[in-house]
């Protein structure tokens, strides 16, 4: 029975191909969207992930960096650096603002570095210096690509002009890029002095980040100290939360599209086979056996579509990232698994209508000419 149905499908290979291709594009849409979202979420936490701090210290009550504000008096940096278990401290001043590049406005983290900085600055450079002096800025390489601005070009941050002295890698994101200036300039922009936003603390080799965080919170008033892993997790959750609804909507739309396409394929296959299905019913095939084959067919087409979509995505993602550096995409095993499970739902839903159609077919109509 199933063999017959599958052979019937292959009797019209072109139709089958078109069906798989169109359903695959629906799945590809979901994969791409998830990929972009996953990539962008990763980028939102790029700074927190890449700087080499073991413990983050900030104003009490603050628990993450994205969209957060934190102020601490500068003297607390010295206080923290003298605590047991602390191997080193670097501090940054931090401002969320909009940077205008080539007529486009990019929401950015502006990190004011206490130069020379060993690990709070850019973690990978494409070109130039990574320690901005007063009046200088280090921007994402992508900015330069977008605007033909290179080293020596100028850029406005708030009401001030900065000269680009370095192009950093991995610091661009559509949601928020990271640019680095000298702390002096940022203090001036913010009209506040002797303050700091975050302390990036290195732990002694024999102490864990958790222990150091506890020591700091016990000894310094009005600060929160979090192990870097916890701090990263908080930021990630926030970044994800912002996109979950959009991604859910897109997944739903893509999934619905795939349902329609697979359902249409199976439905038209069943419609085309009305006569033969009536004949096999007359010959003694049960409704249940036909249902099963219809569902298996739907699953087969869907899984083939998912596989095709995944392969295209795997081939396309790296190329696309190179082509449009502004977009960061990643394809995770989790999203492929998610798509596969979605695909199975798609198949079962898609098979429902055709199965009903089959049930209503009158086997006696096999006698009609």
């Amino acid at each position: 029975m199933l063999r017959w149905m599958i052979k019937s499908l292959f009797l019209e290979p072109l139709t089958l191909l078109v069906a798989i291709a169109s359903a695959a594009s629906a799945f590809l849409l979901i994969i791409m969207f998830e990929g972009i979202f996953a990539g962008e979420s990763e980028q939102i936490v790029a700074y927190v992930r890449n700087v080499k701090a073991d413990v983050w210290v900030m104003q009490r009550g603050v628990s993450n960096m994205h969209m957060a504000t934190s102020y601490l008096p500068d003297w607390k940096v010295r206080q923290v650096s003298e605590l047991p278990g602390v191997a080193g401290v670097e501090s940054i001043l931090y401002l969320n603002t909009v940077v205008e590049v080539a007529d486009q406005r990019w929401f950015s983290y502006v990190v004011g570095l206490d130069v020379p900085s060993e690990y709070a600055g850019p973690w990978a450079m494409a070109e130039g210096r990574d320690q901005p002096a007063a009046g200088e800025v280090v921007v994402p390489e992508v900015f330069a690509h977008m605007s033909q601005l290179g080293i020596g070009g100028t850029l406005r941050v708030t009401d001030r002009e900065f000269t680009i002295v370095g192009l950093s890698k991995g610091t661009f994101s559509m949601a928020n890029s990271v640019i680095f200036v000298n702390k002096v300039d940022l203090e001036d922009i913010m009209s506040s002095f002797d303050i700091t936003s975050f302390m990036l603390v290195k732990a002694e080799p024999d102490t864990t980040p958790e222990q150091v965080a506890a020591i700091i919170e016990g000894a310094v008033e009005h600060v929160s100290a979090l192990p870097a892993s916890q701090f990263l997790k908080n930021d990630k959750r926030l970044a994800m939360q912002m996109g979950t609804e959009t991604i859910a909507l897109m997944t739903f739309i893509g999934g619905a599209l795939a349902v329609l396409l697979v359902a249409f394929t199976i439905y038209s296959q069943v419609a085309r086979q009305r006569r033969e299905l009536a004949v096999v019913k007359a010959l003694g095939v049960t409704n249940r056996a036909i249902y099963t084959s219809v569902v298996v067919q739907a699953i087969g087409i869907t899984l083939a579509s998912v596989a095709v979509a995944t392969m295209i995505a795997m081939a396309l993602l790296p190329a696309l990232s190179n082509l449009i550096p502004a977009v960061t995409m990643t394809l995770t095993l989790v999203s492929v698994a998610k798509i596969t499970i979605l695909g199975l739902f798609v198949a079962v839903i898609a098979a429902y209508l055709p199965a009903r159609q089959v049930a209503r077919l009158d086997p006696a109509s096999a006698f009609q000419t």
Binding site: R275, V280, K281, A282, G284, V285, T286, R288, A364, F367
Partner: protein
Amino acid sequence: MKEKVVLCAENLVKTFGSGHTEVRAVDDISLSLEAGELVLVMGPSGSGKTTLLSILGGLLRPSSGRVLIDGTDISAMDESQLPMIRARSVGFIFQAFNLLDALTVEENILFPARLIRGGYGEASKRAGELIERLKLGPRRNALPHTLSGGEKQRVAIARALINKPPLILADEPTGNLDSVSGQEVMMILHDIAKDEGRSIILVTHDPRVEDVADRILWLEDGGLRDRKSEQHSWVRDPVCGMRVDEWTAELSTSHEGQSYYFCAQRCLERFKADPQRYVKDFPGDQGGAASSGAISL
């Protein structure tokens, strides 16, 4: 002759629709069939032959009455049990052949064998024998669309026989065949009944089979009627010259106020393509409106 009763139908009635649109397609028919019997069902178009066959084969539920196949009352069965009865006990042969396009000759023949439990290996052997016997050897791996009409119907016959059903139901199996292939198919069905002891109910308009049938049932307006042989109304097919019964012929056309009857679709088509040619050869031989029908042959 005390043969085993294979099929027994009691007071079958089938109505379609209701109220003043009600059609009594089968009207109180009872019949029984012994093993090895070849019974012809004849009657004008719309007399209920196909409906009767559908009920006997468990494809259609009667409005009242019951059908027993091999002693099992299939009218009392629920919907989920009927497919198994059809697969096991009934072989269907259709006018439209109804082979499965995607399967080869051999796969088509074996299709019903997969629907019943066990013995697939044996069925596969039997398929080989049927292929030989029905002279389908060279076409064993061919797809249906490459076969001639006669070959298709021979495949359908093999498919109907593969599960060794006691009952074979054939609805105008030669309706789409030329007269030579039709003759061949009729002879095969006859041999099956006589050599293998299978009971066959054969709906046909082909008067040539009347001679070899054990019984002829005459259906009119859903009911069984007696028909004396003088009730034939023989006319000649203007194309092939074969005699056809004007009353039962399903294929007819009118040309210049005259009606013409045909033995097969092929003859009708040839006639339609060039009526003048056949009318010329057949001056007034066919019953027209004026010559109220019967000519004796």
